[in-house]
């Protein structure tokens, strides 16, 4: 029966027991096994499949159709194109292929019949044979599968049912079936536990990590405290926190009670001009302050600086509920759901977009971050971000500030470290906010997605100054919706540690040997080892991973010296004073110093404390601080543009006016199938012109090198000119990513014109350290600490005819 459009199929109610309905189980092989052409993960089983299915490709994928087989396993909906290359048996399994979607990220299943569309729920019955299956995903993708006339009708119906029944947890609060069945399997556990960790990024899991960060930013006067090692002081804080050196652990313990949830002011980052960024929860007001406490409190808050500005994020920023509402509206607008008949007419699109307020919220976050960034630029003050809970907006703003000011955090490794530091370790409630279990609807709010949108806005405005790309942000955005990653599956480090207690604290492979002991193999199967989200090889093919960074190789250009002593006007001896001074509140763009800002100062008994000191400067420095923010905005144009080299620490200040803030169309609008045309179709086959050109340059260079191999060499010139190129891949701290390579190229040309000898080049010793992966950390340290000694840092003086934008 080929045209079974009028037949009504009575389908028996499926028993929710998966085992019974499984078509196959991929058994015992550790690396998974092929099942009807699908490369299964270890422990994964195929529940249903449908043959002769066509998948609609988005414009990004090249447009058109792809025919193949559709599978539903209990982890994903997989699509295998007809003539896809055979997967390499020895390759590590990738969780999701290029055409797959995790069941957990599906939000809605819609079956399109000959004359009607129906939203398929686990309990609904289908009275027609679907011709088209549309999957609406939480990450705003829309996948569209078409059943051919030759697809057996039963297959089409069954797979629709199967997806509809398995994509949601049976009851709120239970884990997904795959996590129970597959991730819990021994093979998968072994496989996951054996994963290498990315050594390039900072995980902030041990004191050494924090120390490294302190060193990188050149922060002095701070130490890593392990007073919360067993989460006794604060359950939501991480084990290790950075506090002023002067406060002893015993003294520190007393301060926890003065802050909401014990989230005391902690150091996050130091601006190169010597200002520190702190974050904290709101004060507990009803606590009696002893004099000793007060000294410690002030020390913790001021951290050795004279001036402290408290930036209140509770009031002006959108609440999680606001963000959730805005996001819901935005989804409704962008998805253009066919099951909901209401569509926004094209000429009302803009005002509807305005009505979602999503862009207002991104603007709001970016503005706040820009203010803080300008403030930090002033140097020698402490900026403390304060939010009642210190777990949402503080994460957004503190990380945005660092993206704006710190070139390191615009690299992939740096950005991952940043998220690790400010979100994962700082205790952002990922689990509740993303609401994987669908049980805490009130808590649900895509705060992290808002942050990603903010970063995208920055990236969109300054594409040349990021090493990471929009593709990377998109990948991160999508993986938030897959409940597999330890980074997102807990609300704080304590929960995370509990879950993975059987894992070593920080596993470091020795010489690449996987000497993982099979211990813990008998662990509770409900407790599978979740991988961190940063293990991109688990999720994406290397092809897609290659698009996470700028296509052009980045040579080293003037390395920023993040030693915290840039342009310091104040005498560093002032640190020695140790007596904290005045405190201001930045709220709504103005400074004030309300007397009740610090509760211990306003309390009656201790009001006399340093009263005289407080009053005097507060009235004077107010306008001074305002000037600070303004001064930053009134950046003078470089007078002599030939030699002007912009300050690498000059923050990327985003433009926030209406026309400049845009919709992240690659993300939000990719689902709307009709809206895909205006992104250039960039499949893996057709490259972006920049990429193509970069490849061409690379090839030509190689050719040139081959050609010039016969020529005699001029060693002296070579050594200098080739050095930047030799470090192409060491890009951790570049301030400019897109534009830098041309300098290398030019120098290369110069060298080639001087008939260089490349074979000799490779042998020349480099002034900068070697770039092997394992030693990268040390490497960074070196470049930061001793970077100024390398002559390459003074590029501007060497060559007046440099290309612009540096």
């Amino acid at each position: 029966m080929l045209t079974g459009s009028k037949t009504t199929f009575k389908v028996r109610q499926m028993v929710p027991d998966i085992k019974e309905r499984m078509l196959s189980h991929s058994g015992v092989h550790a690396r998974g096994r092929e099942m009807f052409g699908l490369c299964c993960l270890p422990g994964e089983c195929v529940l249903q499949r449908a043959v002769l299915v066509r998948k609609k490709l988005s414009a990004r994928e090249g447009g058109g159709w792809l025919s193949g087989t559709l599978f539903c396993t209990h982890f994903r909906v997989a699509f295998v194109p007809q003539d896809s290359p055979k997967p390499d048996d020895n390759a590590d399994p990738v969780l999701l292929g290029d055409h797959d979607v995790a069941l957990a990220s599906i939000e809605k299943v819609v079956a399109v019949g000959p004359s009607r569309t129906k939203l398929v729920t686990p309990n609904s019955s289908l009275k027609f044979t679907p011709e088209e299956l549309v999957l609406y995903c939480r990450d705003l993708r829309v996948l569209c599968f078409l059943f051919d006339r030759l697809t057996p009708d039963t297959q089409a119906i069954e797979i629709t049912y199967t997806i509809a029944k398995t994509y949601q947890p049976l009851k709120p609060g239970t884990l997904f079936s795959f996590q129970n069945a597959a991730l819990g399997s021994i093979e998968m556990k072994q496989f996951l536990s054996n994963r290498r960790r990315d050594p390039n990024m900072n995980w902030f899991e041990c004191p050494a990590d924090w120390e490294q960060e302190l060193e990188r930013t050149g922060a002095t006067g701070w130490r890593v405290s392990s007073v919360n090692d067993r989460f006794e002081m604060s359950t939501s804080l991480s084990r290790f926190n950075v506090v002023p050196q002067k406060v002893l652990d015993t003294e520190l313990k007393k301060t926890f009670a003065h802050f909401n949830e014990g989230r005391i002011p902690r150091w996050c980052w130091r601006h190169p001009r010597g200002s520190d960024l702190l974050r904290m929860a709101s004060f507990q007001n009803n606590i009696y302050h002893e004099k000793d406490d007060i000294r410690n409190l002030e020390l913790v808050l001021f951290g050795g600086q004279q001036v402290c500005v408290v930036v209140d994020l509770g009031e002006e920023m959108p609440s999680p509920a606001d963000i959730q509402l805005a996001h819901t509206r935005l989804r409704a607008l962008c998805l253009g759901d066919i099951s909901a008949s209401v569509t926004v007419p094209d000429d009302k699109w803009l005002s509807t977009l305005e009505g979602t307020h999503w862009l207002d919220y991104t603007r709001c976050c970016l503005r706040k971050a820009a203010e803080v960034a300008c403030l930090l630029r002033g140097g020698h003050l402490t900026v403390a971000l304060q939010e009642p809970e210190d777990r949402d907006m503080n994460c957004v703003v503190s990380s945005l500030v660092q993206v704006m000011c710190d070139p390191h955090s615009r690299t992939v490794a740096g950005f991952q470290s940043l998220v690790q530091k400010e979100w994962v370790m700082a205790g952002h409630r990922f689990l509740s906010r993303i609401n994987y279990h669908r049980d805490s609807d009130k808590e649900e709010a895509p705060v992290f997605l808002l942050f990603l949108d903010c970063v995208w806005q920055l990236w969109d405005q300054y594409p040349g100054r990021f090493q990471l790309t929009g593709d990377y942000l998109l990948a991160l955005h999508d993986s938030v919706h897959i409940p597999l990653f330890s980074s997102f599956l807990a609300n704080c480090q304590r929960e995370r540690c509990r879950r993975s207690q059987h894992l070593p604290q920080s596993y470091t492979p020795i010489n690449g040997l996987r000497e993982m002991l099979p211990r813990g193999a008998s662990d509770d199967p409900t407790d599978p080892p979740f991988p961190p989200v940063w293990d991109w090889a688990l999720q994406y093919s290397s092809q897609r991973q290659a698009r996470f960074t700028q296509p052009v190789s980045q040579p080293i250009c003037s390395q920023p010296l993040l030693n915290g002593n840039l342009n310091t006007n104040l005498d560093p001896n002032q640190y020695g004073d140790g007596v904290p001074g005045s405190v201001f509140l930045l709220s709504r763009g103005t400074f004030s110093s309300p007397s009740n800002l610090l509760p211990w100062r306003s309390a009656g008994s201790s009001a006399s404390y340093r009263k005289s000191h407080r009053r005097a400067p507060s009235s004077e420095s107010l306008p001074g601080l305002e000037r600070l923010i303004k001064a930053c905005s009134l950046t003078e144009p470089p007078q002599n543009t030939n030699t002007a080299f912009h300050d690498p620490h000059e923050p990327l200040l985003p433009l926030l006016l209406g026309p400049c803030v845009r919709v992240w169309k690659d993300c939000y609008l990719r689902g709307a199938l009709h809206a895909q045309a205006f992104s250039h179709p960039m499949s893996s086959i057709t490259q972006h012109p920049v990429e193509q050109l970069a490849c061409e340059v690379q090839q030509l260079r190689e050719k040139l090198a081959q050609v010039s191999i016969v020529r005699p060499a001029n060693a002296a010139k070579r050594q200098e000119s080739h050095r930047p190129e030799a470090n192409l891949n060491q890009n951790a701290n570049n301030e400019t990513f897109l534009f830098a390579s041309s300098r290398a190229a030019q120098q290369h040309h110069a060298s080639n014109r001087a008939t260089a000898h490349p074979s000799a080049l490779t042998k020349t010793p480099h002034p900068t350290p070697a770039t092997s992966r394992s030693s990268n950390r040390d490497n960074n340290k070196h470049t930061f600490l001793f970077g100024h000694q390398s002559e390459g840092r003074h590029v501007p003086t060497r060559n007046a005819k440099l290309p612009k934008n540096n």
């Binding site: 977009l353 709001c364 203010e371 006016l657 045309a677």
Partner: protein, 739 residues
Amino acid sequence: MLSLGSGGPKPAKPSFVSYVTPGEINSEKDSSKKVEHLDLLPGEVVFCSATPVLRYTQDDLSQRGVFGTLLCTNFRVSFISDESPQEEVAQHFKNRLYGENDIPLSCVDQIYGVYDEKKKLITGGQVKNKYPSKIIFHCRDLRVFQFCLTYAKEEDGRRIFQGVVRHCLEPKSLKCVFAFSYSVPAKPVLQENQRTVMFESLEDWHQEMRRTKGDCKPIRDNEAFEISHRLPKYFIVPAAVETEDLSKCEGKGIPIWCWSHHSGCALFKMASVPLGQEDTMSQSHMERMLHAVAQNYLYSVKTEDLTETLPTLQDIQQSYNKFKQFFLIDNTMDFWLSDVKWFSSLENSGWLDMIRQCLRKAMEVVECLEKENTNVLIMEEGGSDLCCVVSSLVQIMLDPYFRTMVGFQSLVQKEWVSGCHQFLDRSNHLHQKEKECQSPVFLLFLECVWQLVQQHSPAFQFSETYLTVLSDSIHVPIFSTFLFNSAHHKASVLQAESPRSQNEVLTCPPVWDWSVQFDCKAQDFFINPLYAEKNKPDKTQRKTHKPKHQRQLSLPSSAFKTPPKKGFFKEETESLKKMLRMRRVSRWLVSPDSPQASTREFYESWQRKPLDYHGVLLPCLDGPAMRVWMQRYLRWIPELQIFGGGAIAVTNRLAELQGEVVQLRRELDRQGRRENKPDNHRPLALSRSSVRLSSSFPFASNRNWSFKPVIPNSRLHSIDVTDNLANQEDEATEAFTVV
């Protein structure tokens, strides 16, 4: 002293200075010493000047500015700063005709005077003796200038104010336009293969017909404009049109060939004939014409009356007026204020929707030509406004030739200049009082093209900058392209204006001679570095792309199977007559639900195919796809410039890489290898400079760099959305009342 209005006394000797009374000329003499900085163009005369005048920087709140001299010449209003002009490196993109502080007279859109802190719109007729303390210019290229006159001598101030108002706002005659006093030596003709086809000779038309393989009849009967003044000298009609039909309706009702599809069907446009109920004469004429069009290919034709389905000229004008106000800001405060409701006010102006409608209409025509292979006849009352928009858009979408620079210029020549678009009336160069004719139709067309460029940039050889410059050039009163209402108008004016030596006819350069405005380096910005050039020649590509058409295989009778819901003229005269009687001539969009759905379907089926930049190109018309032409509208607003960012950063990088490729290739060649690859990448000029570019490059210059409040501070916060997050619904109204 001053002669007001066009009816002023005219000196006996007719010359270009006739508009200037001797008094004015004298007044120019004593200020001449201050004028030395100004490089006058040949034929340019200074009318009056005042000094010192303070030009405010755009941030009004600071009241800062630069002192200098304000001049009014017969070409421009110019401000010369007293400060020594700082040597800017960023002057890649200097316009040779006018600098960044000059406003060509016809570029002035509106003038405001500030009397006692009150801003008043100055209109032509009512120049009082009292001159304002501050004068504000809104330019048509979206610049805003503010000058303070209080520092100048009272007499100077009054004179400059009155002079500016008179020359910028009051009606004048065409011969006072600067083009007629501007005299430059004739430029050597451009190379033949790079030449823009001007469509001024019969050969041009022949050539175009050969190129598109059209099979129509060239008409040369209008060489002396006997048939109509509203038609070009030469044009092409369907082969079946008889010569006697041409002169029937005063030049109206003649289907004029625009372009032939490779399948054989063609696009025609026509000035519609008013159809009275009992006007059998014109009815039968129409019938015959439709017949003639239908005979062009397989007896099928679809017609569309654009006056009924697209916005009127007044609508377009009103909508644009609303739209441009968002960008003509006197000070930065304005912008922050409008920012709160940016999207909804943008939507209310309706401008983006007009663009969408035009593009949609063009897409419908494309669908008919490409999918159904029927001839299409578009009609309009004058046949030279929206017809031009739609027909040019259709050709850009269908024919890759028109996406090259030369092709695009030829297209504008063909459809707009030869098509007798009333450039003069539409842009209101002469400041006529009755403004009904005024309407930015050509700008609307450029906007539509920009949307296409934006969505499919590799398909276009020219860049966004090219379009922006072209839109600016409309208001530079030098180019013959934009000065006349029709070919007849041009011929007669040029004839009348150059009597001095009979054998020499006054020539104005066409706008396509870009060297008049820009040097070679600057012209490089017109080229899109991402242009996907075609390797194969046009014809073979086309054949492989579309091997055979169904229609070509089928019998002619199959043409009648097209769905009847669309008004469709069949061969039978009976049905045609019936339709005509029912007065449903020519509407294919009768049912309201079908067009959009079918267009969408067409678009989606197009989308399913792999995108070929040298094939059919369709725009996406969805809400988020229509965008504001940032470069044109936002380039002068310093708050909206991203330094070291924006799209230019990527373009810049591309240009650098291309330069590198070229260099490396050259290097390879030099190394003695026999590889001689053709070098088809052209490095851009900007790749070698070292300026930190702003996102509105190449237009923004250093002058806008200072005073840039990146972060709105306290005062602005009070009006900002974040205030009222809690009560979201009525926040904006509240926000405004707060201010």
